[in-house]
Amino acid sequence: MNKKIARKTSTWILDGNHAAAQGVKLSRVQVIAAYPITPQTPVTEKLSEFVERKELDAQYVAVESEHSALAVCTSASMVGARTFTATSSHGLAYMHEMLHWAAGARLPVVLACVNRAIGAPWNVLNDQQDSVSQRDTGWIQIYARNNQEILDSIIQAYRIAESVYVPVMVCYDGYVLSHTEMPVDVPSQKDVDKFLPSYKPHTILDPANPKNYNLVTLANPRVNAEGVLCHGYMELRYLLQEALQNSRETIIKVGQEFGELFGRSYANMFWENRLDDADVVIVAMGSLAMEAIVAADMLREAGHKVGVLGLRVFRPFPKADVAKALKKSRLVVIFDKNISYGLEGATCSEIKSALYGRSVRAVIRNFIVGLGGRDVKAREMVDAVNKSLLSVKEGDLNAEYPEWICAI
């Protein structure tokens, strides 16, 4: 593969949805099945335009529901097509069953989730509850901080998915990114072709050699007609977990290769901003990490050594990397645009899990922010950190429940 730095790029002003659509087009996706839902709809419109104008050689399947959308994608992927779907919130929930299916079937489907709050009550604005709620399904999850990362992550998603045979969800904040225009470097088709080879399926449907995939699988292993001991259900699920655990290596390698060709490296599981000398770390995921950098600027001016850990890959959760990055922290303030009801923000629980047994004696504080599109201001994040600093004096490492930044 030609490793020369890509020369032909052009900078376009794109909103997040259009950036996603461009990423899909450049990835030469072959089958698209999607159902419109605010704020994802422009992705489906843009893609169907590309197909209509024959700029993208793909089949666009108009389906009547998101469940069908992902069913079409998994079927098409099964017969060797590169597939794509996009959704948000209720749409993602509607395809929940198929999310489990695609992962268990080890199909490299790529899904863009335009993060939107879930009802009840109805809300079309941004938070991350939708995709975070699906973290158990076995999909790789990548969160983009800006529109450039959306486009880049979709292209990388196909490389990653098709190497490890695990579906990938690229998540980006509804409205904040999806409907906000930013300059985006759009690589040339020629350069993306260098980066992304064609899909080699592990499922071959061939009448000359007929097979049945994802059949009823019993608890125990079975000896098949050829005398080979085949997996029981649990062994297959073990392999999915193993694939996710091992995918970290592929994610970083792909991110590095992307950097070498396109000049923007993704050889990381999270973005680090001034972590080297920080003893107070703010953690956030998606576009919130950008706001956190502004908050960190303000806190630094006030004399605090604050850094930002912008979580990029949520699944597989980078436990070892997180523990290493937070080794010297006295205080970790985690902002979650989601909550696992009855407990706390998902990112907070997972960071605590990463730190257990690693002799990191940091105070951890969790703030629930931005649900239902509530604007999160840097000033509010600064106040939250300052408040948490008081707990450091008390040495109170854990709090029972998170605090909420809202008007209650």
């Binding site: 045979y165 049945n212 995939y213 994802n214 059949l215 000896v223 050829e226 085949c230 297959l236 392999l239």
Partner: protein, 94 residues
């Protein structure tokens, strides 16, 4: 010895006898045919074969008399239910 050697990453199977293992081991009871009642034997011609037709696992042969492959017969009892001569009874396995 583990299952990794099968080299599957999702469950897959090919159509072949015994692909699901020795399913005969699953059964609770097995069919016994009274050849004096079986219409095929009494008439010595292919006048019935309903047991062969209805068997969901295709373990009954289309011969006179029929043969049941006990390695794969799951003991579902459909043959006993459908036999018009009531020639088949299901007997509990010891």
């Amino acid at each position: 010895m583990g299952t990794r050697d099968c080299q599957h990453i999702c469950d897959e199977s090919s159509p072949a006898v015994g692909e699901a293992g020795k399913t005969g081991e699953w059964r609770d009871s097995f069919p016994v045919i009274d050849l004096e009642k079986c219409l095929l034997v009494r008439q010595n011609k292919p006048s019935c074969f309903l047991c062969w037709l209805y068997c969901p696992d295709a373990v009954i042969s289309r011969t006179i008399p029929v043969q049941i492959d006990m390695e794969y017969c799951k003991g579902c009892g459909i043959c006993a239910q459908i036999c018009p001569a009531h020639a088949i009874t299901m007997v509990h396995e010891e």
